[in-house]
């Protein structure tokens, strides 16, 4: 039996809309619960450590090599036009506006989003989420809200750190490999970067933090069917978070810089 192309397309669109609707309802319910007491401070702190502090090594490593390769690549390009002096500017603007937030978010999606989906998914299939309800504890409030808060609050801090480490990477390559004057490199960087460059990156980071934790929690919370279901939830959490990061990145950029 062959299914006409239009039918197939219709099914895909309907499926997508149903999934999007379910995610939005889930997010709405989580936010509604998050606004009302009790607040589980201990859980929030624990999740902030998990999302922020323990992600520092991987995000730092990503940032420093990105800064280094940016400096190196822009040198090979700009040297042809004798525009080497623009390298610090290119490095700092690319990092703060785009690469810092996006790469950090993608790394955190792989690390934290997957772990959240796996943990909450396992709790779902082993009835631990039902157990929370029977102990008069709202699972959304106890499991999901602290993770969302941690995501929104810590990702901007992580990205700020990534920005600084990334610029440092560019500086190292610029000064020790490309023979820039060290104070000139730093002055160029500081003079050129604008508040809006950094600020837009931090706004992105907060949005990405929400999306990563939302996807991790949603896919974990709705997973079913044992080990296979949890595995699928983990994959879906990372893939959907990555897609949402890249898509929303474009629109936030447009909102900030398009004129």
């Amino acid at each position: 039996m062959t299914i006409p192309l239009v039918t197939l397309l219709g099914r895909m669109v309907l499926g997508f809309l149903a999934a999007a609707g379910a995610v939005i309802m889930f997010a709405g319910e989580a936010i509604r619960q998050g606004l009302r007491p009790p607040y589980y401070r201990q859980q929030i702190v624990r999740q902030m450590l998990e999302v922020g502090y323990y992600s520092l090594p991987v995000v730092g490593l990503t940032a420093i090599f990105t800064g280094m390769v940016l400096a190196l690549q822009s040198y090979t390009g700009f040297a042809r036009f004798s525009a080497e002096s623009a390298i610090p500017n290119v490095v700092v603007v690319s990092l703060t506006r785009e690469l810092g937030p996006v790469l950090a978010a993608l790394m955190v999606a792989g690390r934290v989003g997957a772990a959240m989906a796996a943990e909450i998914g396992t709790m779902r299939v082993t009835e631990q989420i039902d157990a929370l309800s029977t102990l008069s504890t709202d699972p959304l409030k106890y499991l999901v809200v602290p993770r969302l808060i941690a995501g929104v609050l810590t990702l901007p801090v992580l990205v700020l750190v990534a920005d600084i480490i990334g610029v440092l990477g560019g500086y190292l390559v610029g000064v020790y490999k490309l023979d820039f004057n060290d104070s000139a490199y730093l002055r160029n960087t500081v003079d050129f970067v604008q508040f809006q460059d950094v600020f837009s990156g931090l706004v992105k980071a907060a949005v990405f933090g929400f999306l990563i934790t939302l996807m991790g929690c949603y896919h974990g919370y709705t997973s079913k069917g044992g080990a296979q279901g949890v595995g699928m939830a983990t994959t879906n959490a990372v893939v959907s978070a990555s897609m949402l990061i890249l898509t929303s990145n474009y629109f936030i950029t447009e909102a900030f810089f398009a004129r």
């Binding site: 082993t126 009835e127 631990q128 039902d130 157990a131 309800s133 029977t134 102990l135 008069s136 106890y142």
Partner: protein, 257 residues
């Protein structure tokens, strides 16, 4: 019977095209222990989760202490939950918390008890189920299946609930440990004066912990009666089930209902 602690009328629930519960009527008196028996996939767990409010029935009424609980809002639900304790089939212990934190979870998180006090309560409850205080420092993954069941039982009784639910309390345990758990259940329920609803397919367990037995088959309660009468039920489905015969009116469902 005086006004029942739990009263179900015409409870139905379907998942998609699968009709799981087809109109359940059940009354449980205060301090009574009712055991619902039935084969795998007959909807026993769904019935329990409907009473608990974890699953919303499609139709029917579920009253706890005469108060309708179907369609209750967040705060009302929380109040009803306060009366409940539940022992899950797999224990459902929180694996990120130690044993005593698991037992003290309800008192600390929901009742706002100070951790130091809750810890004492937890250790006392662990004592009630025959576990030493040192066990409290371990994580659930470090315990055997039987010990996990005991911890789960301690957690279920930690807030001294009025109604306790047991989901297949003896499944996966050896016969001796199963009997130990059965005796603990009987003791805990009578100590608290609690009402108990259990689901099981273990007849030894059902006879031991129940005052009354109800059999669930194809989404309906086809027989109810005191434990003593189960052997003279006059119902061929019940006869087949309690004697564990493959031949009889109940045909094995290859697919889940």
């Amino acid at each position: 019977m005086a006004s029942p602690k739990i009263s179900l009328r015409g409870v139905t629930k379907a998942f998609g095209a699968k009709q799981v519960l087809r109109g359940i009527d059940l009354d449980v008196a205060a301090a009574e222990s009712v055991v619902v028996i039935g084969g795998s996939g007959t909807g026993k767990s769904v019935l329990l989760k409907c009473i608990l409010g974890l699953i919303r029935p499609d139709a029917g009424s579920i009253k706890i202490d005469g108060v309708e609980t179907v369609g209750l809002g967040d705060s009302g639900r929380k109040e009803v939950m306060r009366k409940f304790g539940m022992l899950f089939q797999g224990g459902a212990l929180f694996d990120s918390l130690t044993v005593w934190e698991n037992v003290a979870f309800g008192p600390i998180q929901s009742d706002g008890m100070a951790p130091a006090k809750a810890r004492e309560v937890a250790i006392a409850k662990l004592g009630n189920v025959g576990l030493a205080p040192e066990i409290g420092e371990l994580f659930p993954s470090e315990l055997s299946g039987g010990m996990q069941k005991r911890v789960a039982l301690a957690r279920a009784i930690a807030r001294e609930p009025e109604i306790i639910f047991f989901d297949e309390p003896t499944t996966g345990l050896d016969p001796i440990m199963a009997d130990v758990i059965n005796e603990l259940i009987v003791k805990c329920v009578s100590d608290l004066g609690a009402t108990a609803v259990s689901i099981t397919h273990d007849m030894a367990s059902a006879r031991k912990i129940g005052h009354r037995i109800a059999m669930l088959y194809e989404g309906k309660l086809i027989w109810q009666g005191p434990v003593a009468e189960i052997d003279h039920s006059g119902n061929s489905h019940v006869e087949q089930f309690i004697h564990g015969r493959a031949e009889g009116p109940i045909q094995m469902q290859v697919r889940k209902l």
